[in-house]
Symmetry: C2
Subunit: 453 residues, 2 copies
């Protein structure tokens, strides 16, 4: 058994593949690659620069292509799909489970989608259409329709006989069988662990678990994820409003969801999409980045315009130009801390309109303490540096004002943006720094104009 | 069946509990609370402000306390543990599985840890000591030692008889039984789905899966997470260097790990810890925030000092003071984008020293395109605003220099910091903005001094 190699970090295995690729041994590289799980092949592809990527993609065996596409981030998947012949896409789609197919179909051009739909048998087409009927970010959009159901009145022995006759075995990540009544309404689940540890003569009704609450197909994906996290689920049944079983959600899709949501938060703050491919074409990246730089230029120009209003004051007291970035930057830092806490709180569901005023009160108390403390420190520095008590007082007041404004903005902005349907992870940071720059410069230079000139 | 209520979003259930709490009906609130899963109780606690939190914590039934503590973030857990009597902590620890107990024990004062260890029977104490022997951020630190093993030579029928005799049933999240030889070396896994779908007369050896590679106990937690993600695992066996089975890792702990790592990245950029409790005591929060504000003040002072070197120049051309924040801010934005991409790349394992030069080349190409484009736009704006071709040329050059420096820093910094053992998620942003501020002001004011004065 080759424990050593199997447990080696990704980087080492990737390095081994790299070495083989560089040695030009295509046959060996192909064998190494196709011994991997589709998720690992996707990982390798995403770690490769464009040219090697095309070479490696051409080495993936036909049967695995569909699965590999699913594990890729959206950007790279779109790029590869664009270059694939329709017949090859059809073949790749053929081997997929319904929920996976639903994910893939949404990225295909309409003509190919039609061909894919036509190539399916009636049962699969119906299932696919059910899956496509729900938005991607709901329980219905996440669910898989491949599952095994049982009736409550049969014995465990009968269940096991039934399972042994299943030609295809049980779907991946099956930790329970779903118990439904004659009308297809959800009743409970029969865990495999209970199936194998109880008396074969017991009935399903006696052994099944009733506590597993099904999820409504319309439930928000974020709530699906927090229920999986809070209840430590492997899979969860999905029902319609009348309690009819529609499908099941498995933890692998929830893990992807959590990763995507987290990436969205992290990347969004820099104006990047969570689907951003590290080795995307230069022109595509440049265009996307340009947009964000443009947005930020507008806010920088606004700040510059505020400073411009005080040109005369600065000309008389140049120390103001030296100190003004400090006022803006301290406000930006304090505001970002509160903003980050609030965005995370909304994402985890810990922060709602109900407990908002508690957070605001606490954050403002923190801001008052730090506002006073740092205002004094900075005033002392400014006094020592420029020998002017007036400038020291002015910068202390401006720091205090900016820290309080920044905290207020950081706390209230995320919930406000959510209510307006604007994504706080994307817009929050830009709006906040605009506020802290403008208020910082305005307070500092404004007070200076009033008191010094 | 109450499908509706069960599928209601967290916020609604929390609101219902809030309403009952406010109505003062303690008995009803207690019943509602204790009907929840420990993960849900933890969620409720984290959403409550301090006073209500203490009230609700006192309502949690003794048997659930240990589990609830595990689902809380570290800060709140520590706070609650501090107020608990040793006897109550012992009781809470009693009901936990070994890996969970190991997590909890690490947060306890040494005296109580000793008491907990003494209260365990020998088998549990040994298991706990095994779990505590590995660092928290390795496969060994994540693993659970409660698992069921079988021998390859027995039949499935014998396995099922054995399972039915297990008094406690199978551990949570058991999707497979682990097959070991006489010496306790790992051989493979027997999926429950295969156990129930194959002929009872087949032997374990015939039905077991050999492809599941065990993880070494020393494997880094981040690699554990990416293997779970890439292979869609529910659980994975953990072995020592000789292939002896030590325990198993389950997906619920991996989900927590992914969430923590993501929170760390997101919160770290604002100098916050991923364990930060939204409703932490004001003084604790103020102290922690103060540290970050202090670090940032140092970088702001450095930038101010750079500006201070050019006081004479600014006095002559006040337009420079107006425009200089634009140069610093555009550099900061461009650099942050590259930095974010690189930090995410390292976290996902897509970026390594091997493919670093590809990323650098691509990002520099993007920076050249955007540097030239935005330098021209900003030059045009500056020319229109201040009517000086000289200032326009100077700001264009400074923007170009700063965008290139920022991108170079953003790309190289994360790998460099990793190599130095410094956390890029925490330090990356501060160092980057220090560089972009200093280089931005220096390039702009320096060129102006050379060319204008």
């Amino acid at each position: 058994m080759n424990t050593e190699a199997a447990s080696a970090p990704e980087a080492d295995r990737l390095a081994a593949l790299h070495a083989v690729l560089e040695s030009g041994s295509v046959v060996k590289a192909k064998r190494m690659l196709n011994a991997l799980h589709p998720g690992e092949m996707a990982h390798v592809l995403q770690s490769l620069p464009p040219q090697q990527r095309r070479l490696v993609w051409s080495m993936v065996e036909d049967g695995a292509e569909g699965q590999v596409l699913l594990f890729l981030n959206d950007d790279l998947r779109d790029e590869l799909l664009r270059d694939m012949a329709p017949s090859r896409i059809l073949a790749a789609a053929g081997g997929l489970e319904t929920d996976d197919l639903a994910d893939l179909v949404q990225d295909l051009p309409a003509t190919i989608t039609r061909e894919v739909l036509n190539s399916l048998d009636e049962q699969r087409r119906e299932r696919l259409e059910t899956a496509l009927a729900f938005p991607e970010d709901t329980a219905g959009g996440l669910m898989n329709t491949d599952m095994v159901t049982v009736r409550p009145e049969v014995t465990l022995d009968v269940v096991m006989r039934y399972l042994r006759r299943l030609k295809e075995g049980l779907p991946d990540l099956t930790d329970n069988l779903i118990v439904v009544n004659r009308e297809g309404r959800y009743l409970g689940v029969l865990y495999l662990t209970d199936l194998v540890t109880n008396d074969p003569d017991d009935s399903v009704a006696e052994v099944m678990t009733l506590q597993v609450q099904p999820m409504l197909a319309t439930l928000d994906a974020r709530d699906v994820a927090s229920r999986f996290e809070q209840l430590d689920l492997v899979s969860a049944p999905v029902v319609d409003e009348d309690g009819h079983l529609l499908g099941r959600i498995t933890v692998d899709d929830v893990v992807d969801l959590i990763r995507e949501e987290a990436d969205h938060q992290f990347m969004g703050q820099a104006g990047l999409s969570e689907t951003e491919d590290m080795f995307a074409p230069v022109l595509l990246s440049a265009r996307r980045r340009a947009l964000w730089l443009g947005v930020n230029l507008l806010t920088a120009l606004l700040a510059a315009w505020v400073i411009g209003r005080f040109e005369a004051t600065i000309q008389q007291v140049v120390a103001l130009a030296v100190l003004m970035p400090i006022v803006a930057s301290m406000g930006g830092i304090a505001g970002t801390q509160t903003l980050t806490l609030a965005i995370r709180g909304i994402a985890t569901g810990h922060l709602t309109a109900k407990n908002m005023r508690w957070l605001l009160r606490k954050e403002m108390a923190v801001a008052v303490i730090n506002g006073v403390a740092w205002a004094l420190v900075i005033a002392a520095i400014a006094w020592t540096w420029f020998g002017s008590a007036h400038i020291a007082m002015i910068i202390a007041a401006a720091i205090g004002i900016n820290l309080l404004t920044a905290t207020l903005t950081g706390a209230l902005l995320p919930l406000l943006l959510e209510r307006l349907g604007i994504d706080p992870a994307l817009a929050g940071g830009v709006i906040l720094t605009t506020v802290t720059d403008v208020v910082g410069f305005l307070a500092f230079l404004g007070l200076a104009t009033l008191l010094l000139v």
